[in-house]
């Protein structure tokens, strides 16, 4: 049985929460020494913080005016993936350890995700790994996973687990393509994500389920979790990361050379008119929303949206995923027809992207916005 250190934190600010994760992982890099094999940190951010992924463009993902009006902090994670809203209803799960040699990133994600899945199982929720590193319950996303390995081989696994979610606030502060353009916007999000509170039929906070997630990790990974505190050296490192990185505009507002753009296309189906919204980042699909007057979101559509996210913006790839994920009854039209609509929206996004941002061939890859 392995022994890990166990830490908790509550209501941390955006910069402080992110900086603490990185400060904790530093001790697991090469040339560093640690008394424990790993650290598990279960924590919450103050309500609320909007956090973008490592390579996202902040202004393209977060409505900064809305954040300011609603006192929502913003920040940039070291891990990849899309923008998230964190607060008392979302449990932050961080594992810091030495990156094991010879194990693929995909496998590491699954290994640590098993701890979260086991925690949810203790609550009576049957969650499973889905496609591009999400956890789902009944086809709806309940957690997003990310993995970051630094230059010295230290690893940070991070999960944002939805215990509860203020969907109207999320729609207000995050820019989700197509999500706001309807009086059914809240329902659209609710069709695609779920929470622990919703699954259990009672309102819970992240702190309410923390003991179960801790026990889930202990069981699934065969651990003894020893409660501890951040050491003074780690606190100093955290404070340094806050000043020099996570509260610093050079980090928060850095822009990827790959531009973002959006496109949309329509599709006639026997069930009515469906609109497809695609967001691209460089030559990657970063978001897909298939919106229509569905009584219930077809399961194949939910799978399709998840599978195409972070996929190549290519016709063949889109067609292959549509044919794999869509059943005959999902939208009432053949998968290649749906693929054409998605490709049309993607093409429009890519054209806008090229018009707005000529390719930057040389120079620094990442640069702060002036």
């Amino acid at each position: 049985m392995s022994t890990w250190r166990y830490l908790t934190d509550e209501s941390v600010g955006a910069a402080e929460g992110l900086a603490a994760d990185e400060a904790l992982m530093l001790r697991y890099g090469r040339d560093e020494r640690s008394d424990s094999e790993a650290t598990l940190r279960l924590y919450t951010y103050r309500s609320h913080c909007a956090l973008v992924g490592r390579y996202q463009n902040l202004e393209d993902e977060v409505d900064l005016e809305a954040c300011s009006a609603r006192a929502v902090q913003h920040g940039r994670r070291p891990t990849g993936g899309g923008a998230i809203l964190m607060g008392a209803g979302q449990l932050g799960v961080a594992v810091c350890t030495r990156a094991p040699a010879g194990i693929a990133p995909k496998d590491l994600l699954r290994r640590y995700a098993d701890g979260v899945i086991a925690g949810l199982a203790r609550l009576g929720i049957d969650a499973a790994f889905r496609s591009k590193n999400d956890l789902e319950v009944g086809g709806r996303k309940i957690a997003g996973l990310g993995l970051y390995v630094d230059d010295r081989g230290a690893l940070l696994f991070h999960t944002s687990l939805l215990v509860d979610l203020d969907i109207p606030l999320m729609l207000e502060v995050l820019k989700i393509p197509g999500a706001k353009l309807s009086d059914k916007s809240v329902e659209r999000v609710a069709d695609r994500v779920t929470t622990v509170s919703r699954e259990l039929g009672r309102t819970l906070t992240a702190v309410d389920i923390r003991a179960d997630v801790r026990a889930g990790f202990a069981t699934a990974l065969g651990l003894e979790l020893c409660p501890g505190e951040m050491e003074v050296e780690e606190q100093d490192r955290r404070d340094g990361f806050v000043r020099e990185k996570y509260a610093n505009d050079k980090w928060i507002r850095q822009r990827s050379p790959l531009p973002d753009a959006r496109g949309t296309a329509g599709l006639k189906t026997p069930e009515g008119f469906v609109r497809v919204y695609v967001g691209v980042h460089g030559d990657t699909i970063k978001s897909l929303l298939v919106a229509g007057d569905f009584n219930t979101l077809p399961a194949g559509v939910s799978r399709l949206e998840a599978s195409l996210r972070w996929s190549r913006a290519e016709h063949a790839q889109i067609t292959a995923v549509c044919e794999r994920e869509l059943g005959a009854s999902d939208l009432g039209v053949p998968a290649p027809v749906v693929a054409e609509a998605i490709w049309q929206a993607t093409t429009r996004a890519l054209e806008r992207e090229r018009e707005a941002h000529p390719v930057r061939a040389e120079g620094s890859c990442y640069f702060p916005e002036q």
Binding site: G53, R54, Y55, P78, T79, G80, G81, A101, G102, I103, A104, P105, K106, D107, L109, R110, K132, N133, G144, L145, G146, L147, Y148, V149, D150, D151, S256, P257, L258, H281, G282, D283, T284, W310, S311, R312, A313, E314, V359, R360, A361, E362, S364, C365, Y366
Partner: protein, 152 residues
């Protein structure tokens, strides 16, 4: 298949290239120079997931073997690209920076950086030659299949 290329378990490798077994990168010496091109081998690419963003050190940066010459984001994995040999970055593939998806299409073609090597003796720490590469790659495929990181 071009001369000197062969397949192991459906993955293409080149007997003239050097391979970093730990980091799953290939190294190709450019004719008549000390410059080595570096790229992902097919397993390195596949086990990282679809690559969506790449950053590379600027030309003129010196990196030692094992030190980062850039970063990669693949789906939700973010991590360093570690140099298989020491050298000075003398070229960066602009196409990879502007269209990282080309790495997913063909990692054998889409090189990342060119390193001007100061000491070619480090190449002896890499794998080369069809017989050696076949043994190593077949074992790696099997290992990743057991982990579930690549398809059966």
């Amino acid at each position: 298949m071009p001369e000197n290329w062969f397949e192991v378990g459906g993955y293409r490798l080149c007997s003239d290239r050097y391979y970093d077994a730990e980091r799953h990168l290939w190294v190709e010496l450019q004719p008549g120079s000390r410059v080595a091109r570096v790229g992902f081998d097919p397993l390195g690419r596949e086990t990282s997931g679809d690559i969506v963003e790449v950053s590379l050190s600027v030309v003129g940066t010196h990196v030692n073997r094992g030190e980062p010459f850039g970063n990669v984001e693949a789906a939700k994995f973010v991590g360093p690209l570690q140099a298989p040999v020491s050298g000075v970055v003398s070229g960066r593939n602009a196409q990879v920076l502007s269209r990282p998806g080309v790495l997913n299409d063909d990692p054998n073609e889409a090189w990342l950086v060119e390193l001007d090597m100061a000491d070619s003796s480090e190449l002896s720490q890499l794998l080369r030659g069809e017989e050696q590469l076949r043994l190593w790659f077949a074992a790696e495929i099997e290992r990743y299949r057991r982990q579930g990181a690549v398809a059966e």
